[in-house]
Symmetry: C2
Subunit: 123 residues, 2 copies
DNA sequence: TGAACATATGAACTTGTGTTCAGGTATACG
DNA sequence: CGTATACCTGAACACAAGTTCATATGTTCA
């Protein structure tokens, strides 16, 4: 599975060596990938987006906004909550969610800006 | 499956209405999510990162850097290539890949900055 | 107390995704 | 030519992930 520093014939050993030193660790890659994964689903994406726009929303309202079932919404919110991306506030029998991760807004802004508005993407 | 503008009893109808107007479309959400999905895998993440660091790398060298098989690397590169995230340059029997999407660097920088360096994430 | 409501949860099901393996193409070189 | 090299591709497999359905928990209100 792993390819160590073997007797491999590399095309550009120097460059490979240099990159290896600066390379992010596998653990970091996993953590980062998990973060991206949270945004890699259309429904979750719309949920986060809606919460950013609204400030906070109840589960039912959020479900209505994104056009998903309440159960499904709750499941997704659980994921986001466990990952620390959103936070819940309970008021009576209503639970309000809001985005807890300040960085998400920036990340989403960057992505929206570049992948939805632009489309003249060369080099 | 879908929850239309039904006789649903919403907690905060005004806010829901307002958010609905600003909401990104489902199509946009899908496109965006696909983009994030590309970065939602540790191996692909390390590949992109390596290519950004190196400028360009052959498939074999890239496989060596990320510690994956050549076949697997080729498969992932195909995905990235079809998505327009990387571009290939063929020289003899060696194929060099480089990152073709300028926005990816920014996106990765933002993510790395916030999710790897920081960890004091409250509010 | 009991009925209606808001949300959460677990299990089952279905689909998606990454990896591996076994070839397949194309180029270089002797 | 034939062989080695560098990469690509498709199929098969194992596992992850999202959705749905049924049910549970907890809260309000009559």
């Amino acid at each position: 599975m792993t390819a160590e520093t073997n007797p491999e014939r590399l095309v550009d050993p120097d460059r490979v060596g240099a990159v290896r030193e600066r390379m992010m660790s596998s653990d970091d890659a996993v953590r980062l990938a998990e973060r991206f994964q949270l945004l890699a689903d259309p429904v979750r994406l719309r949920m986060v987006y809606a919460l950013l726009e609204a400030g906070e929303l109840s589960v039912g309202d959020l479900a209505a906004v994104v056009g998903s079932s309440e159960s499904g919404t709750s499941h997704q919110l659980r994921q986001l909550r466990l990952a620390g991306l959103v936070r819940a506030r309970k008021e009576g029998r209503v639970v309000y969610y809001r985005v807890a991760d300040t960085h998400v807004r920036l990340l989403l802004d960057v992505a929206v800006e570049h992948y939805l508005h632009d489309h003249d993407d060369r080099s």
